[in-house]
Amino acid sequence: MAIAKTDIGPPDFRQMLPPVITKNYGSWKYHENLKPGVLKHVAESGDAIYTVRVAGSRLVSIDFIRDIADIADKYCGGHLRFTSRHNIEFLVSDAAMVEPLIDELKQKGYLIGGTNNAISNVVHTQGWVHCHSAATDASGIVKSVMDELVPYFTSESLPAKLRISLACCLNMCGAVHCSDLAIVGIHRKPPKVDHERLGKMCEIPTVIASCPTAAIRPNPKEKSVTINEDRCMYCGNCFSVCPALPIADALNDGVAIFVGGKVSNARTAPMFSRLAIPYLPNTPPRWPEVVSAVKNIVEVYAKNAHKGERMGEWIERISWERFFELTGIPFTDKHIDDFTHATTTFRTTPTFKW
């Protein structure tokens, strides 16, 4: 084999588009939501393209990819795409193919849905499958949670879209910080300092600088560092820069739940997700505590929010104090911010709900 070319970049997307898209590129007029998981986009030209959206598990084998390629060959002229939330979208140019495609997908057990006021796929990360940082697994929790919430994927019955994300550590590769409902792996004990390896493997100034709470100071005697355990809030960032500071702890690691984030600009500006449940234990393989906590929040939201209200919009309307009451989640010292912008979250008015 010849020497590989570098810096060629990704294939040009134009090669990948079905002809109807190439023809109507940039000239779409409107869309309809035919049923859950099925969209019809109509172009100025009158042409239409149908999209059938299927739940992706994201962590898939090459044989799975080959399976869906087979389906796309059969119904879509060999064209498909993935969404920004890792679902699969079959792109059907021929209206007559839509129902047969749906039939075959259903028959093979694929889930169709995720559009409009649904819970779409859970954006998530590596977990114990591939990352050294993970405080919990990703795929296992997602599978367990979604097994319960499938009816919300295949229907559009919620007040609005509900985006669930998961990150297996505070690095938050799932970008859960602005999700309607976020599941985050957390540690609860400071890293242990392996003095011997630290001096050898890590740059001490970098280690010190990595700590957001200035909990790390030099330990010249050991040619290492000392962690002020009272100031450590277990973010794991020092471990990210230095392997000699292992922080994983089977007994204490677990999961936190944040709620109320969004990124779209519709109606309200993007919002951060905020702490709802500070800790739930790691209980593989099915994390029942996490599943039922998520289900509870989703159900309380589904029952109480006005039509069209995202999770965060709903909570901001009813107030966080009411959110805690309705969900039965206890409010604790953990919920009160003590990081950089803490005071901007403190209530500066005697007006509030009981």
Binding site: I8, G26, L59, H124
Partner: protein, 394 residues
């Protein structure tokens, strides 16, 4: 009957949601690497802790990134995943594929890797999950031969991504896919050869619905928008009026600036152009009747990121409106200035947003030669602590 070696994971095969365990088992049938990956995962499930070690530096010739090194901490037990590195393959813009190219990827990964993948990673790459060090270069060579290239990792430009945009969305105000592709191609060097204080991410959304979550997940979001007025088709408004949509309650009342008014008798909707902040809500509710204006372009924002270290940022408005026409030179020039400033001033592992926070937006704007405008802030400062430069005082 043989006792299962993965009793915990087996429990995740049942249930309606697609099962990653099934997928791992499928791969395990063909690949010993995948088999050991599964075994080690079972161990994690049993012990409730991770079994991967901190990654080492591995890669392919000429590149400083694109591969995530990964080593088992139980290599005796799971020798096939002693090393189990991940290759990040740069997806085509908008995650569009033809089946031929997908099959090619599968074939390459069958030959050189574990057969496990992520379609896609959360930055947007195809993640080829797990292979041994000696296979990295051959896998890369094969990918390159097939027209694929690696994505970003480390302190580099990360693989840009874009929403489906003009390919299938009537809301797209900019050509997200072309922008994504063009910037990716222009900045191949920045993508493949880490040289900055930290990572830098670009994501492109065609409109303020922001379907790639660019505002939360990228250092520089490019979000399509328009400068003029919504276009309203009154004939279609009448259709909606006769449908079960409650125009007054679900559309007009929810306009954040009360820019809309509806005349129920005439079944006419009107907008006060100067009040509309282009949030997309009414368009989303009545896509057949309302559409963006005609003077299209983008808002450029800066600084978004996840919480490590200084807490999460949502990106901040940097250029309220810019036309987006190839070759996008104005924005590329700005990028160059921003990267220079960041490179010069940033500490190790300091994202550009953190640096702006540390040195001040004023200093940043001056460095990149942008004029402060009120659109950059929700509201002005409340503290009285601001600076005067020598040329402003006596």
């Amino acid at each position: 009957m043989e006792e299962s070696k993965t009793p915990l994971l087996d429990q995740l095969e049942s249930g309606p949601w697609p099962s990653f365990v099934k997928e791992m088992k499928r791969a395990a049938k063909k690949s010993p690497m995948a088999k050991d990956a599964l075994g080690q995962l079972e161990l994690s499930y049993t012990e409730k802790r991770v079994h991967w070690k901190h990654g080492g530096i591995v890669g392919v010739r000429g590149y400083g990134g694109g591969v995530i090194g990964r080593y088992s901490d139980a290599p005796e037990q799971f020798p096939e995943v002693r090393d189990f590195h991940t290759m990040r393959v740069n997806q085509p813009s908008g995650w569009f594929y033809n089946t031929a190219s997908l099959r090619t990827l599968c074939d390459i990964w069958e030959k050189y890797g574990s057969g496990l993948t992520n379609f896609h990673g959360s930055t947007g790459d195809v993640i080829l999950l797990g292979t041994v060090t000696p296979n990295l270069q051959p896998a890369f060579d094969a990918l390159s031969e097939a027209g694929f290239d690696l994505g970003g990792s480390g302190s580099a430009l990360r693989t840009p991504s874009a929403c489906v945009g003009p390919a299938r969305c009537e809301y797209a105000c900019i050509d997200t896919l072309d922008i994504c592709n063009d910037f990716t191609q222009t900045f191949q060097n920045e993508l493949h050869r880490p040289m900055w204080p930290y990572k830098f991410k670009i994501k492109v959304s065609g409109c303020p619905n922001d379907c790639v979550a660019s505002i939360a997940r990228s250092d520089m979001p490019i979000i399509g928008t328009w400068r003029d007025t919504l276009r309203i088709d009154q004939a279609e408004v009448k259709h909606y009026a006769n449908s079960d949509l409650n125009i007054r309650g679900a559309v007009v009342a929810k306009c954040p600036t009360k820019a809309l008014s509806y005349d129920a008798t005439k079944m006419e909707l009107s907008v006060q152009p100067e009040e509309c902040i282009r949030c997309m809500h009414c368009i989303n509710m009545m896509p057949k009747a309302i559409r963006p204006g005609v003077e299209k372009g983008a808002t450029i924002l800066i600084g978004g990121k996840a919480p490590i270290v200084k807490g999460a940022y949502l990106s901040w408005v940097l250029i309220p409106f810019i036309k987006m026409e190839p070759p996008y030179q104005e924005l590329k020039d700005l990028l160059a200035k921003m990267w220079d400033w960041w490179d010069e001033n940033g500490k190790t592992r300091e994202r550009i947003g953190e640096l702006i926070d540390r040195l001040g937006m004023g200093a940043f704007l001056k460095a990149v030669e942008l004029k402060p405008v009120s659109q950059m802030v929700f509201r002005p400062r409340s503290n009285p602590y601001y600076f005067w430069s020598p040329d402003e005082i006596n």
